[in-house]
Symmetry: C2
Amino acid sequence: MVRSLCYWALITFTILMACSDANQSSAGKSQHSNLIFPVGQRVTNGNFTGTTYLYSLIEGDSVNGNSVGNVTFAAGSRSKWHLHPAGQILLAIDGVGYYQEKGKSKIILRKGDAIKCPPNVIHWHGASIDSPFVQIAITGREKGPTQWFEEVTEEDYSSTPIHDRAPL
Amino acid sequence: MVRSLCYWALITFTILMACSDANQSSAGKSQHSNLIFPVGQRVTNGNFTGTTYLYSLIEGDSVNGNSVGNVTFAAGSRSKWHLHPAGQILLAIDGVGYYQEKGKSKIILRKGDAIKCPPNVIHWHGASIDSPFVQIAITGREKGPTQWFEEVTEEDYSSTPIHDRAPL
């Protein structure tokens, strides 16, 4: 009888371990299921600190000046300070990110957030310290290209953020 | 001994059923994990056939004329024929949808697709017959509001689509 009980205990343990693996596998799939758009190529133009990828979804033209890109920031990565002559709209697709305008507090962006960056306002955006960040960037090109400035210092990058949902 | 074996069999069966429920729950969560933006309110302005929801992420203004909305179509639902004076960009977030310009073949849109609708081109878009469709719609408002026309007939809605990936 003891031997039979041992056999059943071993079988039950094995089943429990198998169930645990299956659950983790399902959870892992859901963690990556927000990879909606291609990640694209690593950005090597020197305008970002850390590791950033860009995939161009729509190119602006003379008829519709908006370009639309899928930007993926590794945790800790961010753009340099920069401005867009026609402004920009950011849609947070996944992860946690930061956005900051010159002279204002840093804002946390989370999946589902949307924020409008006014024309000619110097700002930066990127991933949070702990999490990657995926954003759709909608940028008007009809008033000229993006203008790039200096890197975001560690002090600015790590500054205390506003924790309210980003204002539209 | 037989009684002990029965007890263990019952325990094992119960554990298996619990594991099955947990797996289905995880799969269910991943199926809904592309619900990035709020679904919003049901559209009741008469410009859509079937059930459609809209959530406004960004309102256009005098500084940046782009409005950005999250549009969710139930399977079989679609807009009426319409045009945008400043054009539109659609980003397919989830599901399967259709897009058609007047005089051209219907195009299938799938999660991850992006398409640019030129200014003043009469078109419609919506969900496929079998699947709901979630899209981000980026619409310039600086040249006036959307102009709405007639409903899409069942014949047009069910026309044979082009199966290639939607052109940018």
